[in-house]
Amino acid sequence: MAHQEKFDALTKELITHVLGFKEDEENFVRSEQYVLSNLLYHHCLAVNSHAVRRSIDGLCLKFSVHGQASRSQKLKELTSKFLQSSLFKDHYETDIEWSLLSLMLHLSNSPTNVPETEAELHPSSDENAAVASPQDIVEEQIDWGAYLLKGEKECEFGPEDPLSDWSDSEEEDYLRSRKNTLSYKSYAEEELFLKPMSRTKIKAINLLEQSHRAKSWISENTQMPYWKGLCYQHETTSSHPAANVASVWEKTKGEEKSQLLSEWVVMREVIWMLMNPVSAHIFQLNEKGDFVMENKVTIPSLTRGAFISLLEDLCLPLKQLRELDLFTRGIDGSAGCSQTPVTLRAYVNGLRFWRREFRMHLASLERTVIKQETTCTLIWLMNEVKPWLCILSSLYSVHHTAFIVFPEECPRKLVLRLIGSLCEGVESAGKSELCCVLLRLLLHTVRYYFGLMQTLLLNGSLEDVANEFIIERNCNVSVMDESFWKEAFSLNCHPDSKDIAPNDPLKTGLKILLPLTVALASIGKSQELLSALSIKCCLDVCGSSLDASTSQKEREKPLEEVLVDHVTKMISEDICTGDCKIIKSNEEGILNDPLQSASINICEEKISQENPHLTDKQKEDISHIQDILANADPLLLMNDLEADDLDTPVKLENYLDTKIEAIRSVPRAVSVVGIFSASMRPLIIEKQNELNSKLTDVLIKEYQLDRHCKAVRSILLMEAGDIMHEFYSLLFAKLDDGDEMDSISLSLHLECCISSVYPELSKLFFVTVESRLSDDEVKKDQEAGVEAASNSTRDASSKLLSSLGLPNISIHYQAPWPMNILFNQEVLAKLNLLFRFSLSLKQATYGLERLIFRDMATWNTPFSTGNISEESDAPLQSRLHRLELIRLWLLFFSRELHNYFANVAFLPFFKAFEDLIESKPSFNDIISGHKKLLDRAISQCLMKNNADSSPLQLVLNKVFLLTQKVSRLWKKEMRVSSEELSSLEAEYVQIHRFLVGILSHLTEKHILPHLEGLTHALANSMPLQTLSHRLGSFEFQGDI
């Protein structure tokens, strides 16, 4: 209450003094209530002397900063005096001095904005000013405007620029009140005389200041053409030695004076050079295409040497930039040329994205340099561009490897090398930023490549105008040719080829793309074959694959987009592993909100509308989204629609470019092979499987693939024993009789045999016989063969035995298209090899089976009468028995071979091929599986390297020879001698041991372990002849 009483009187005085209200006025009462309530009831803190001290110090500093040092000093002095006043020592109110100062500070109103008085400006003359009279001050006032304009010509000003800062508002109003032209002098005079004297002086000072500022501004913003010669010199404003190092150094050393440029100018030239590297003042281009620095230029604060060492590191990046820019322009210049690989253009497009980004960064740096709001130095600039130059170095390294290190070759190799080089760059990039840039460039580059793949997937055609795709469609091979499957698509270079250098990135490119290429080639061939078969190639989207809706959606996307999406997903998964749940919940929230969901999908749906390959399901989705848009509040959607105009077509390319450029961080090391295979392979394999399944179905159901296969097996591999028995019986009979073998009669006979089982296919088989030697030559060879065998020389016997036996008989099958792709000449040659082997087995057995005891009946008479022809010889019964034994040995031997190979080689082949067809694999697998099975059967029959010199074939021929000899003796009637029999026995033993030796060798070394059973059987049935001295030379010496 005591406070209130004191305050009452003072408050009244205050209100009366400040506002001038009288006590009986209503306003007075209200004001009093306001003042008292604020003074008595407030939330302000008690005075803090330290805070007040700090505020005063801050204010002093502020005065100093604003160039009002005298005020700062004065405030300090006054405050000090005030606080030292003895009045406050024994004052009843504590901290009254701080309270008063605090009050002053709270009431302080922009003290720095108050213009300084003359006394404040010239504190030293304060004392004189105190002495001088006011009259003197007036007299000292000078008409500065008139004084300065004395002798100046009258100048006319044009219309006033509304944005001009040359006049304050009053002058502007004044000038506007006048007409367009104005005499400056008259205006000045009028102003000077019309206004009071003090105002005139202030105006004159303002004019002077403005004039000075304008001059400074012009000098600062006018670029002197320093590049026109070395005569321009930048003058430093500071005389400090550190700011004039160059001059001091040159004077001290007596060197020639350099051209001094401001650091600002040099920084701008550096930026310009990085934007567009051409020959300039500081950086000059020499004849070799390298950038060198002008050695007579420096900045005032650096010596020439220091200046050059600071900036010469930029010469190499400038050269690299120039080469990249020239390459870009070169590719752009060849835009109309169809021979320029499109992948190169895509690469250049990717490079341009990075270049544009770099230029934008440089532009922002230049703006910073121009504004000069912060301290910008050359060191700062070099640090700013350093990360970009590191990336440039890596980019150029990739570019150099792709285009310059290796000589220019065909477009295909060029493009593969570029892709390989980029892949190597991405995989070997240490820093995330660099990896990101290279990955973006790679994604831009491979876009067209994946576009080609897409066309191949959808249409089965390879539209490779510039011959840049890894595989090439061989135009000489039509789909009707039997070599279609093998030669339709060719890979001109292989990663393991010796022509490719070990460090050539072409190898990497091939390795990365090859796994995809094999599947793509298979798809291309399947597509082409199906379309030639007039089968609709487009896959049924409503079919079995609809269970995976996402997979279906993926399939509808272009491959390039799938790749980009995969990379984006991979990166986002890596980055957002921690925030996965949050993002997921956000996404769910968005998806639950139809408006947000619709706005998010607008962009995607626009692309779908652009896409002519829209499916019904996608169209339904679009209509659904449109319904949502229609039912939603139009005001809420306005922003989305304005931001993303539905009517404006969005090009897919731009959309993908944006997606690629949005990849800004790669969290871990990137495996390009992993990315490609993970993103592409599932789609390609899925497509391949579908096409293969369709093709196999068509070939089996409509073109009876299985029946053709069975017919060929039945005939050529003698699966159908009854058919072929008739055929080879006639053949062997003709051979025995020495009849002439002609292809036509054999073909007719074969047709006759087949027609009972395969009537529709019988006309497709025909026989060709190719006699190896004339009859005389055969006889001579037979005789020589006998001699050779007796001489026990393997080479000679091999040579002779190989030429004995059957004529070169072949069965051909004119398979109708498309079966001719499976039964091509190569396959038929292999089948005929096995056919002749089977025929040899049959021939050996056939001849012995024909030697029947009934034919020896004539022997019984002399045997029973005891008429012995030659006393010196062994008894006839003994010789007869030996002959029978030889026959039985040969029969057992040849049957053993026949049965064994029939069971081990041929029957498994039949079974395996049946299983293969039943499993309905791809046509490619049928072809390759068939070849593999044939090769295995040939290998099992020991005919892998050369059928004619095969040991089995040699043995079979030898057996056939022995059979003929036995046959001759069989019919010789009592004239067979013991010596002849011994010779036959010895020859047989030789053959037997020869084969056992070979087979033992092969089985012991596990080369052909499946022959173990045969080896044991033959080894156990070895005849007990002791003719070792004649057997040694038949031991196996060579390889199979």
Binding site: L19, L39, H42, V47, L75, E93, L100, H106, S108
Partner: protein, 78 residues
């Protein structure tokens, strides 16, 4: 008696000097206070008024005065 009178005079002079210093500070800080108002403020502070609250009051009164003056001038010009 003379001593007490002398002390009194010194005290008054001291007070005047101190007030002048405060007035100088006030001008330097562009508070817009005249001598009478400043004297009233000093007395209020001596009476225990919070300087921050007082400053708020003074500024409000100055604002009202300025408005009143402007209002009056406006009517006058009409």
């Amino acid at each position: 008696m003379r001593d007490s009178t002398m002390a009194m005079e010194n005290s008054v002079v001291n007070a005047k000097e101190t007030f002048q210093i405060l007035m100088e500070i006030s001008k330097l800080l562009n508070t817009g206070l005249d001598e009478v108002t400043l004297a009233l403020c000093v007395r209020l502070c001596e009476s225990g008024a919070n300087p921050e609250a007082l400053a708020k009051v003074i500024m409000e009164l100055q604002r009202v005065k300025k408005e009143e003056t402007g209002h009056t001038n406006g009517h006058g010009s009409q």
